[in-house]
Amino acid sequence: MTALLRTEGVGKAYGGVHALDSCTVEVEEGSVAGLIGPNGSGKTTLFNVITGYAKADAGHIYLGDRKITNAAPDRVFGFGIGRTFQLTRIFASLTVLENMLVASPNGRAAARRRAMEQLEFVGIAGHHAEPAGTLSYGQRKLLELAYVLVADPAIVLLDEPAGGVNLSLVNTIADRIRELNAAGKTFLIVEHNMEFVMGLCDRVTVLDSGTVVAAGPPAIIRTDRRVLNAYLGEDLPDNDPHPGEQS
């Protein structure tokens, strides 16, 4: 199977710090790929570079056959890559439904119908008329997932979809991802929650200090010595203050 998304030798430095270094990651079409690594390993930076929020200093990004290196965020979106953020970014003063409509391409009635469908899919349709700023943290995560989906992207990049939410919601999110994947959507997921990743992903790539140290099926990765070294044992919860900064 061909790789739908491929980063090849991507490098990115912030001042003297190499957030990414010869980073090569492949995501096969129709798979659920995981991206893990300790804090500061460059996972969110890689997302930023792929989606155009940061410029790559070296290397290239390919979507299928098309080279999309350093394309602007709105073009990346147009190519069919959707993305969520580690700290949920929603439009707080717009209603939940309006949030959905920002991303939708179609005309009035069709857009609203599709938006409501997505809201029901993630389970927050009841709040459609409320300002998104009033949603709880978990609900915002669901909203972000929903509006990324509304434009039907070919591949969805999820940045810590299970972070900071309770267990039942984590399972809900995992179920939704499985359903969407069964219908053909490709996912690349950054996560710290090991059970979530191992239970969901077909293939896991491990980053450490900006480079790939291991890649393979979850069962293999789990016992790989290099991965264990990279993590140095305990996995601490995240503490990044700004979206877009390297994680």
């Binding site: 929020y53 940061a54 203050p241 700004h242 979206p243 877009g244």
Partner: protein, 292 residues
């Protein structure tokens, strides 16, 4: 003609020193607090009026009077920050502080107008009128003293920032407010004091401005436009940049004045717009964070 040009350059450098004195406070405040203090122009004028009062009522020497006006302006600055600016938070903070300082500027201007009316004043001293005559150029004493003062103030601020513990807190806050808080820096105190220092410096700037220009309460508008252009050109937050940009801009204006006095000020506005579009951080400024 050539002599005229050289004199214009000399004038520009000297006047640039005066403007540097006014701009340094503004850029410090922005660099540390992310605040564009529109009131700076009118605060300079306030400083000029304070010096005026001291020199006409108490017959104090202008430079000596700074010993009083500088602490007074420091207090005024702290009060402004504490009362109005401290509470502003959130994503639109920088825009909001801009509007708030604009409002403060209006109030101060209005009060000054009510007290002094529209008639212009100028500060006087023996050295204001006289100049030293070197190589065929006129170098007014007041400007020489002023330039020296500007350099002294800049050196003092550098010393404050880089040699004191307080300065370390200021620089920490400048780089990352949350991190600074986490290591025990009292961010509110740093903010208030920095704002105070930024305004205190305008006391010196105000005295110099008042000694070299006739002023009235309306002078603030013209001033703030120039100062904004200067600090943005020099780089928001860069003190050395403020000095360099002041000298540069004033020299250019001085040269343009030879041909067309009324359009000379356009130099500032045009430079402001051009720089902001091409290189929004100015020549020495910090790199912006990408997200708004």
């Amino acid at each position: 003609m050539a002599h005229q040009i050289y004199q214009a350059i000399v004038d520009g450098i000297l006047v640039g020193g005066v403007y540097a004195l006014m701009a340094v406070g503004l850029t410090l405040i922005f660099g540390v607090l992310d605040i564009i203090n529109i009131a700076q122009g009118v605060l300079v004028v306030l400083g000029a009026y304070l010096s005026y009062e001291l020199s006409t009522r108490l017959h104090m020497d202008l430079f000596l009077g700074l010993l009083i006006t500088v602490p007074a302006m420091f207090v005024i600055g702290v009060v402004i920050q504490w009362a109005f600016i401290r509470r502003l938070r959130g994503r639109e903070r920088t825009s909001m502080t801009l509007l708030v300082t604009y409002a403060v500027a209006l109030i101060i201007e209005g009060i000054l107008y009510e007290i002094y009316g529209p008639n212009v004043k100028q500060l006087n001293a023996s050295y204001v009128q006289s100049s030293v005559h070197i190589f065929g150029f006129y170098l007014p004493y007041i400007y020489l003293y002023g330039f020296a003062l500007a350099v002294a103030v800049i050196v003092a601020i550098y010393a404050l920032l880089y040699r004191t513990r307080f300065g370390r807190s200021v620089r920490a806050t400048m780089q990352d407010e949350t991190a600074a808080r986490l290591i025990g820096v009292d961010v509110n105190r740093v903010a208030a004091i920095t704002f105070g220092v930024g305004v205190a410096v305008t006391a010196a700037g105000g005295m110099m401005f008042g000694a070299t220009n006739s002023f009235n309460p309306n002078s603030g508008y013209d001033l703030i436009s120039r100062l904004l252009a200067i600090i943005i050109l020099g780089g928001l937050g860069s003190i050395g940049g403020a000095l360099a940009a002041s000298v540069f801009m004033l020299t250019v204006e001085s040269l343009v004045t030879i041909w067309s006095p009324e359009w000379a000020i356009v130099v500032f506005y045009a430079a402001l717009v051009v720089v902001l579009v091409i290189r929004p951080t100015g020549f020495f400024g910090r790199q912006p964070v990408r997200a708004q």
